[in-house]
């Protein structure tokens, strides 16, 4: 992304970070305040909008019935697709946002589902309706409306929020079909008759951006433009690392890497509780409106 910073501004930014001071007054490991809205896309099974500073993303979860893959008869499938809207930056016009979209989609997928789709974050076997015949496939779509850095972390929060908001309709199997027959089933019409989704295992992602010799959490776009390297670490509520993606830039000393991982784990504790609290708050707001 092109961020126009003068030499003096750059110096101010990097020297500040070296002394533990950031332009917006935050500490090195502080997240910006963020807000969560739930159920904003009526035609989806679950959706959320998360705003962190000027970064603004929408995620939606759609569940569709389909056939499980032959190699995994007792599991549903999850697809994650992130799109960077050109409204977020003129650079995303046309095919301009594709590289970033792919990078974000894959990084999220890896953190949530491992690279062969067996990840610990989402219980895929809970999506099965009839083994080998019918399962729910989840399509997670993300849209970046406005970007001021730290997209991956915000998207991870939004995915977690959207999944917590997701209701999967109850399916009634009407005929106990023989192995080779197509099964008959009915999807419940009652809008209250759905099962929720357990998101306690969905991790948060913390991207540590290294500027100079120091690394910071939740970098803004300006700060990202000065990074030497960045590393995104997914941590779940058990405090286990669920995925690491190094995102370009210069090499890192392995000991620094381990340091960064432990910092991410520390930061994740407070972030996870804030995320949970925000989701809860959004849920209760939604209940009030009804």
């Amino acid at each position: 992304m092109v961020v126009g910073l003068s030499a003096a501004e750059r110096r101010y930014l990097t020297d500040g970070i070296a002394q533990g001071l950031r332009n917006d007054g935050r500490g090195l490991y502080d997240f910006r305040a963020f807000s969560v809205e739930l159920a904003i896309i009526p035609q989806a099974n679950g959706s959320a909008r998360v705003r962190l500073g000027a970064t603004d993303v929408i995620t939606s979860v759609k569940a569709e019935l389909g056939r499980p893959q032959a190699s995994r008869p007792s599991q549903g499938r999850v697809e994650i697709n992130i799109e960077c809207s050109s409204t977020a930056a003129p650079q995303f016009e046309g095919r301009g946002g594709e590289d970033l979209s792919l990078e974000l989609s894959r990084a999220l997928y890896r953190s949530l589902l491992c690279n062969n789709g067996t990840g610990p974050a989402i219980d895929l076997s809970a999506l099965t309706v009839i083994e080998g015949k019918l399962c729910w496939n989840l399509f997670i779509d993300g849209l970046v409306l406005s970007s001021d850095g730290n997209l991956l972390d915000v998207l991870a929060i939004a995915v977690k929020a959207a999944l917590s908001n997701t209701g999967i309709p109850k399916v009634e199997v009407t005929s106990a079909a023989a192995a080779e027959q197509e099964a008959d089933f009915e999807i419940s019409d009652n809008p209250d008759d759905f099962s929720g989704f357990d998101v306690s295992h969905v991790p948060v992602i913390i991207t540590l951006t290294k500027v100079g010799r120091t690394y910071i959490v939740d970098a803004t776009e300006e700060e990202e433009s000065q990074m030497s390297s960045a590393i995104s670490i997914a941590v779940n509520s058990a405090g286990h690392v669920c995925g690491i993606t190094k995102r370009g830039g210069a090499g890192l000393d392995p000991s620094v890497l381990l340091d960064m991982i432990s910092v991410a784990k520390e930061v994740s504790k407070s972030l996870l509780s804030t995320v949970d609290a925000e989701i809860m708050a959004a849920e209760s707001r939604g209940d009030d409106q009804m």
């Binding site: 190699s71 995994r72 590289d99 792919l102 990078e103 894959r106 890896r110 953190s111 491992c114 690279n115 062969n116 067996t118 990840g119 610990p120 390297s229 590393i231 779940n236 058990a238 286990h240 690392v241 669920c242 995925g243 690491i244 993606t245 190094k246 995102r247 370009g248 830039g249 210069a250 090499g251 890192l252 000393d253 392995p254 890497l257 381990l258 991982i261």
Partner: protein
């Protein structure tokens, strides 16, 4: 390409081993399907100068994984691209249509795009880009046979090809992957092991500078497992770097002869 050894295009049906328990992939005595111990790498074969037309090229074979990388350039950057005071690295990874057990489709797949991005990010930190301003170096990788650990093999092979092309680098990049099945950490996993893994780790590093250029981790890891995995990969990368170095030395001594 000097045929220094008989090529091993054996028609092993490796992909039959779909979705099996970890017990099938590793015996109680700790021996893997192909007879390796858990922390043993596959036999590797490296060679530079595989493609005559390229400025530099390399061929790598790790077990069943076979990769060829050619490097072209530095050449003038495209006119449409803005001025840049550092060089550009254009990375492109593609699978040969016959690389997997199912015939590949034409056109760039998302996997190829992702690998291309990863390759770029793994090399970016190692190449002295400031030595060729305004110009572009193309790195084209072709996976001839996909047998597990494709990306790390591509990364190592690409850095060898860059060295062969005389592109200035801070250090060679060597990369290795590791699969976790239950509690077993299997270094340099095969395809069969990768399909059944519940966690993976891919590490690319510049061994003599002790710097990690790319790191990719999936699955849930405890701190102890993670540290052990990283250490295993780092050690393996150091060993691989030694092998790459000797390959380069050998090829230059051949020229002198």
């Amino acid at each position: 390409m000097a045929a220094s050894r008989v090529s091993s295009y054996s028609l092993e049906s490796q992909r039959v081993s779909l979705a099996r328990g970890s017990s099938a992939l590793i015996s109680p005595e700790g021996v893997r399907e192909d007879g390796r111990s858990p922390h043993e790498c596959r036999p590797a074969f490296l060679q530079t100068g595989a493609v005559n037309a390229a400025a530099g090229s390399a061929y790598a074979e790790f077990g069943q994984t076979k990769v060829i990388v050619s490097v072209f350039g530095p050449r003038e950057s495209k006119k449409a691209q803005a001025y840049s005071d550092i060089g550009r690295l254009n990375c492109n990874v593609s699978f040969a249509t016959f690389a997997g057990s199912v015939r590949g489709k034409a056109g760039q797949s998302t996997e190829e795009k992702e690998y291309s991005q990863m390759l770029y990010k793994g090399l970016e930190g190692a190449v002295a880009l400031h030595t060729f301003p305004k110009t572009t170096v193309d790195v084209f990788a072709l996976i001839l046979q996909s047998g597990g650990g494709d990306l790390p093999v591509v990364l190592s092979c690409a850095s060898l090809a860059l060295a062969d092309a005389g592109i200035v680098m801070y250090d060679l990049v060597s990369a290795i992957s590791l699969s976790r099945l239950d509690t077993n950490l299997l270094l340099d996993a095969t395809l069969g092991e990768e399909i059944n893994q519940d966690g993976s780790l891919m590490l690319a590093c510049m061994a003599s500078r002790n710097e990690v250029t790319q790191l990719l981790l999936t699955g849930e890891w405890s701190q102890a497992n993670l540290s052990e995995g990283l250490k295993l990969c780092l050690d393996a990368c150091t060993k691989l770097a030694g092998l790459m170095r000797s390959t380069l030395k050998e090829s230059t001594s051949n020229i002198e002869d």
